[in-house]
Symmetry: C2
Subunit: 623 residues, 2 copies
Amino acid sequence: MSPKITTELLKQLRQVMKSPKYVQEPVQAYIVPSGDAHQSEYIAPCDCRRAFISGFDGSAGTAIVTEQYAAMWTDGRYFLQAAHQMDSNWTLMKMGLKDTPTQEDWLVSVLPEGSKVGVDPFIIPADQWKRMSKVLRSAGHDLVPVKENLIDTIWTDCPQRPCKPLITLDLSYTGVSWRDKIVALRSKMAERKVLWFVVTALDEVAWLFNLRGSDVEYNPVFFAYAIIGMNTIRLFIDGDRMMDPAVREHLELDSTLEPEFKIQVLPYGSILSELQAVCAGLSPKEKVWLSDKASYALTEAIPKAYRYLTPYTPICIAKAVKNPLEREGMRRAHIKDAVALCELFNWLEKEVPKGTVTEIIAADKAEEFRSQQQDFVELSFATISSTGPNGAIIHYKPVPETNRTLSVNEIYLLDSGAQYKDGTTDVTRTMHFGTPSAYEKECFTYVLKGHIAVSAAIFPNGTKGHLLDSFARSALWDCGLDYLHGTGHGVGSFLNVHEGPCGISYKTFADEPLEAGMIVSDEPGYYEDGSFGIRIENVVLVIPAETKYNFKNRGSLTFEPLTLVPIQTKMIDVNLLTQKECNWVNDYHQKCREVIGAELERQGRHEALQWLIRETEPLGRVQ
Amino acid sequence: MSPKITTELLKQLRQVMKSPKYVQEPVQAYIVPSGDAHQSEYIAPCDCRRAFISGFDGSAGTAIVTEQYAAMWTDGRYFLQAAHQMDSNWTLMKMGLKDTPTQEDWLVSVLPEGSKVGVDPFIIPADQWKRMSKVLRSAGHDLVPVKENLIDTIWTDCPQRPCKPLITLDLSYTGVSWRDKIVALRSKMAERKVLWFVVTALDEVAWLFNLRGSDVEYNPVFFAYAIIGMNTIRLFIDGDRMMDPAVREHLELDSTLEPEFKIQVLPYGSILSELQAVCAGLSPKEKVWLSDKASYALTEAIPKAYRYLTPYTPICIAKAVKNPLEREGMRRAHIKDAVALCELFNWLEKEVPKGTVTEIIAADKAEEFRSQQQDFVELSFATISSTGPNGAIIHYKPVPETNRTLSVNEIYLLDSGAQYKDGTTDVTRTMHFGTPSAYEKECFTYVLKGHIAVSAAIFPNGTKGHLLDSFARSALWDCGLDYLHGTGHGVGSFLNVHEGPCGISYKTFADEPLEAGMIVSDEPGYYEDGSFGIRIENVVLVIPAETKYNFKNRGSLTFEPLTLVPIQTKMIDVNLLTQKECNWVNDYHQKCREVIGAELERQGRHEALQWLIRETEPLGRVQ
């Protein structure tokens, strides 16, 4: 990977930062956040402005360019990648390290007195604006909205905003009609005495209307906003997508239905003016509900007295708790996914010793096997197919420059998943196709112990996921090992592979308590820079638990793995497991054998079935 | 407990709420918070204004009086007590229940349009003012500071503010001179480019100047403020305490020393005007550092542009990390404390079967034994001496009406501690003087497993205490049990028994990472309403840990128990312990026997020594 040469681009950006054509007053610093106008994690090519200006294309990072400096903040997952992709114009700011300043503090330390710091008000979330603005103001600077995106002004070959056809999902997939979802939303609004609700996150729009798209790679969403009133529905969406008869029928656009379910379709770009018009008609005590992570532009459009901001919207919370049909869909998707992986690992076991399988070939093969499964739509994220030292790059994606050949001498880590019409998958397995070293097995076993500790944890109703994070680390900690990422994230149902409002992480964020029906990943790891990476990831469903005393009827929860792919026993040092952990592995493998075995049988995949049977032999505990 | 009759008092308060003598404009509501001007947890009698006006004297509660209503907000610990202590003039607002309005929302619902809500600006913390003021303002009301405390105007027999003599602590106790503490503080100020620091918390003033007092029960503090400049020191303190030659010498008040260490002593009441004078002389970019929990009055005295607010002050953080001499002192204090408890438990073992020992007698006896130890000053909090069902009341304090006799049929829980000149202790032991039931042993053993899980935890440098909280709960959770309080709090060194900025709690608060030298409690519990309470509490010191791989030189931490009091083995179901846990108990008891045994021997306390030896017999693991 050679870094992107950004000298000329930075020069151009610094020019427009002073150009009266684009800014009312010159800005001494310009912030280029990662996101799009919907605060999406995965973004369309036209929104990859930070990657364009810096070369660093990891999923998280904020660039700030001043007259003198160009700095990039990113987290532990991306330290190596960012260092590789950026040229010497850029300074890497390693978030999470003690001596790394925050963006605000850094700005204060480098800016001349009374500076203006510009940012696109549609891209920066309101809560972040508030935090930065406060610090800057108290140091005598000003954070200012710059209407025209300055990166766009210098990005001559910027791709067009995608506008792909929509997929309608019927009740057999969603379990609840969009009308019932609107009714439920309005009842939440009534509870909070709020008259309007603005849907800004793309997956929330998609979920609410039971529609999917493909405007953003890996995430089946489409560019749209919505404003829901107590009697009106406004959907902001571009293109001729609303001409599709299936979509028209699904949304009942041509039916004579009750006025409160009549959807008014408006251009995507008219959201700001429409929202302003809605607000102009408000009388005191009439509130508009918005995520506090919505863009500064939309938040500011609502006069302060009318704003009702919450960290999580009622849609986000409802979406996280999967209904019975969604759970069934997720189960089906994970069975199909496991079939594909059994095929893949069986194939790798035969092919790797030949020395012809590269990381890219393995990733492509994984996609090929997945695409053979029913209702397969696309991958759910860029496959992390990494061997040896590449495995230590947590969010590695093989490219020709880094592409390594799998061998019988190195650990192979595959973190991959897919979108099926019935569910979203995300699974990591770490394999050795030769003989792992004692140290590799030791580390793998600690990671496995952490994985089991979370998966088998029992906890009272109302517990937040972050309280479970250290269970995943305890075995590693005991030996002085750790990993620098969270343990789990929420997973959508044929939606984003990362979704809120729950998760399992040491980072204190306002996570909502875990509830039966929520789905999260359980993925501890261990990474030895320059040598190998280990991660064991299952997607797990939150289910009620049976306990002896049941928390005085408060009830309790635990997890059920949806992912049913063997965990390589060759990598396990059985002596490091307790009897309980040993039993967990054996029970898990028994279930893989039964459920996935039956499906492999049904699909006539006999060789993969033999592989599965071999890989699910019970562990014999060596005393 | 008969309620306090408050009709006349409320009438008087409502009169002064309208009296031009005290308020510029009439206030339609007056808020009486719990705290004092230093946001202390424990307060002096003269600051018990809420108890005076309402009769309710629990440790937490806020009263609001309007023309028509008098309402009291308190939490679950105090619902019963508040209901008993208040007459029918008062409405109890049960915090934590779903239908209970917040103070702000309630005010908005009862006040006539455009009302003024008064509060003493010295008593309300700035962050709370901000929150309330925002809600009131958006509903058209105003929160206004009332200079003269309106309760004080009607409290004719209000006790005087205490003004007791000071204790000076020499280097053998503090390890660092007050001059070196000032130097360190100024260097932190320089780092943050701050020119002034206002010390508002009483324990911070005491720590900074190596002085102690006894103005507040249980907390060896004295009423004072300080303003530290880069070249000046202002100490605000009343009385003739500064006439004491020992104090004068300690503070070098009469020496000709460098001007930057010259302490200017000013009256306690002049803090506001002095701070205003300091601020009047500020030029732009000159900042004043203050805790964000400081009073609204002091915060407002600093023009917004000059304010530098942080949740924890550098004194709070420095104070939490005990230096080698303070650690030694804490060790000594805990040895003496253990001697007292061995005497007590030996005595109880003989006396309880006679049926003559009540909770109050046991508490008094504990104090008596402690007071025999060198450098004993006072208790560090009100002793929780509780047997049977009283043990389930987490913050129980025996009073004649509730006083129960200890017996061989009930569990006895003693949570107690003392202030010694060399350290502060806080220890809980749960004992049975007869034969515990299988269920009691089971619960006790889960609590013990949680206690050990925290105490023996190894974690990387930089870990925050809240990440360890669920280790304490895991064994309980597995069986469907839990406890509704945090697992640990910071402990001062001959200072407050509860101090920030670290702790171990599921409540997400902004705790600072644990560091070697910090001291916290480890106190999981289990409470069966109406039957019994179990808690096992040690004070533990954060120390560096030895691990196999040492977190890639990031380093790691663990805990060393300072408390060395036997944990009753009779209460342990050995079959529920792992071998590691069994070893932990045996090692711990071995250490108790060695360290406390030697001290009991030295003090000639032979009977207690025999008790200690009996109680520290190793557990034999039953397989």
